[in-house]
């Protein structure tokens, strides 16, 4: 695994009660790719926060080795742990 417990703790620290999150990470479509693995890890470790399958449904985008800017969403705040690892709060309309 390329991510560490520090990364998961960083993600967890950027979620508020009731927040839904989306995982953005490299996905080559192969078994056990980084995104699939990170989705499993965050899916367990960040409970009771719920993961969503589309970025537009999320309150927070958790990015790993990717930039949340590429998803075409507007954010109220983007925090980075290091370059390529960030938590971006989505600006919902209304």
């Amino acid at each position: 695994m390329r991510y560490s417990p520090t990364v998961i703790a960083f993600y967890g620290a950027h979620l508020r009660p009731g927040d839904r999150f989306y995982v953005q990470a490299p996905d080559n479509g192969k078994l056990g790719n980084v995104r699939a693995s990170l989705m499993l890890t965050t899916g367990f470790a960040l409970l009771p926060h719920v993961m969503v399958s589309r970025p537009g449904q999320a309150d927070v985008v958790l990015s790993f080795e990717e930039s949340p800017r590429t998803l075409g969403l507007r954010y109220t705040r983007v925090d980075s742990l290091v370059d390529g690892i960030s938590a971006a709060r989505v600006a919902h309309a209304g």
Partner: protein
């Protein structure tokens, strides 16, 4: 937040009481001695029944915790006492295998020591193994956090990776423990896994009590629990060993019903096999290949019993039905294995190269190096059944094991997953049901031959003793 192990134990005591009600209702505990012998069976039945109930109620948004368990325990006891007062003891109680109680107690003491040692390690073991937390741990904690399986975690495509099509008995029971403790403690929950082993040991003893010499059952239980993959894999929070326990008990109950024709055995078989099919998807496969040879045999020899067996199979299907409806309604992926693929000649032919390596890998996983003497002992048990005049029982055991092994090879044959990866990540644990099931059948298979040998030995001693005594100790 750490959980209190005593509250987990409290939940299990209530599950035991649920099973006591069942045992009383079946007329299996009509005196203190019978109750003591069957209290382990009561625990196994209680765990299986509350597991089935927990997993099914979770589908409609009902969470089970200590208060609900308490109500269930009271209701079960009431039904048990009412039914008990109206029925006579089961005829089977007349059976009495000659047992060496002291030897059985000694073996049971060693087994207890093994479990106590394991408990010390289990209580502090974190959820470390991948599927243990990623699949089963996530589901258990989500059931605890959300109270049911109706939320996105069990239905949304975002959580496809947690194998949403796997049934819920194990995580539902763990979620009940979390509710009892008021915390999702991933370490203390391992004690529940160990308690499955306790329930298995007690249930096997209770199932075979009076039918099989106690020392033989005790020896077999010790051999199973001492085989390193059993307690080793159980600690991983994977569902394979709990599945093996449930299916093994169901198959043993079916085997005993075959030779003794006591109705309660069929009920017990349906409960354990029902728990098995709700533990893992392959549980349905192991249960089906247990019913199939019996149905074929009884259809030819005793239609009335074949119909009763069909009713028991129907009960197992009924247990599985709500889960199948749930997965169908929510369009959940049924996983990578589709048994209907076994009917596609093109695919079977294209995948033919997978048969030999799969069979070879599975054969390598059931050897002495992995499971100790369990497989050789099972083979001796089968041989003893034929020698001891229990050929039908022997054929049943052989049929179940051969069909189960064939189905396991079929799983790898029809799958489209990369074979080496698939074998490396599953072959060592997918054989657990086969090995434990075969070993659990052994005491019943060997009982008559064992009793015959003991009787012959006694006879030999009796005929020799008077002739030797005067010469050895002259006056």
């Amino acid at each position: 937040m750490p959980g209190d192990p005593l509250l987990l134990v409290a939940a299990n005591v209530l599950e035991l009481v649920v099973g006591v009600g069942v045992v009383l209702a079946l007329g299996l505990a009509n005196d203190l001695r019978a109750f003591a012998a069957r209290v382990g069976l009561a625990y196994g039945l209680g765990l299986a029944l509350t597991g089935i109930l927990d997993a099914t109620l979770a589908l409609v948004g009902v969470a089970v915790g200590l208060p609900q368990l308490g109500l269930l325990a009271i209701a079960s006891l009431l039904v048990g006492f009412l039914r008990r007062s109206r029925r006579s003891p089961v005829a089977q109680e007349a059976l009495q295998a000659s047992s060496s109680t002291l030897l059985a107690a000694g073996i049971a003491a060693i087994t207890t020591a093994l479990i106590a040692l394991a408990a010390a390690a289990y209580a502090v073991t974190p959820l470390l193994k991948w599927d243990g937390w990623a699949i089963w741990g996530t589901k258990a904690q989500a059931l605890y956090d959300f109270g049911s399986a109706t939320g996105p975690l069990f239905t949304s495509p975002a959580y496809e990776g947690i194998q949403q099509s796997y049934p819920l008995l194990l995580p539902a029971l763990e979620a009940t423990d979390y509710r009892a403790m008021g915390a999702a403690d991933g370490s203390v929950i391992h004690l529940q896994l160990l308690l499955f082993a306790v329930a298995f040991a007690g249930s096997l003893f209770g199932l075979l009590w009076r039918r099989v010499p106690s020392e033989l059952t005790a020896l077999c239980v010790l051999a199973i629990l001492a085989a390193s993959p059993v307690l080793g894999q159980l600690a991983s929070n994977y569902a394979d060993v709990p599945l093996a326990f449930a299916i093994a008990l169901g198959v043993v109950a079916l085997a005993r019903w075959l030779v003794d024709d006591e109705p309660w055995l069929l009920g017990v078989a349906a409960i354990f096999l029902g728990a098995g099919v709700l533990t893992k998807n392959e549980g349905a496969m192991f249960a089906a290949v247990a019913f199939l040879p019996l149905l074929v045999y009884l259809a030819a020899h005793d239609r009335r019993r074949a119909l009763r067996l069909l009713a028991a199979a129907g009960a197992v299907v009924a247990v599985l039905l709500p889960w199948r409806i749930f997965t169908s309604v929510h369009h959940l992926s049924t996983g990578d294995i589709h048994f209907s693929d076994a009917l596609r000649p093109g695919l079977l032919s294209a995948h033919a190269g997978r048969i030999a390596p799969s069979a070879h890998a599975l054969a390598g996983q059931v050897g002495v190096a992995k499971w100790g003497l369990l497989v050789p002992v099972t083979a001796v048990g089968v041989l003893a059944a034929f020698v001891g005049g229990r050929a039908v029982l022997g054929w049943f055991a052989v049929s179940w094991m051969v069909l189960s092994s064939s189905c396991l090879v079929l799983v790898y044959w029809i799958s489209s997953l990369p074979l080496h990866w698939y074998l490396a990540t599953s072959d060592y644990r997918i054989v657990a049901t086969l090995v434990v099931g075969g070993a659990a059948l052994t005491p019943l298979l060997a009982a008559d031959a064992w009793a015959g040998s003991k009787a012959a030995l006694r006879e030999l001693r009796a005929t020799r003793a008077p002739a030797i005594e005067p010469e050895t100790f002259p006056a």
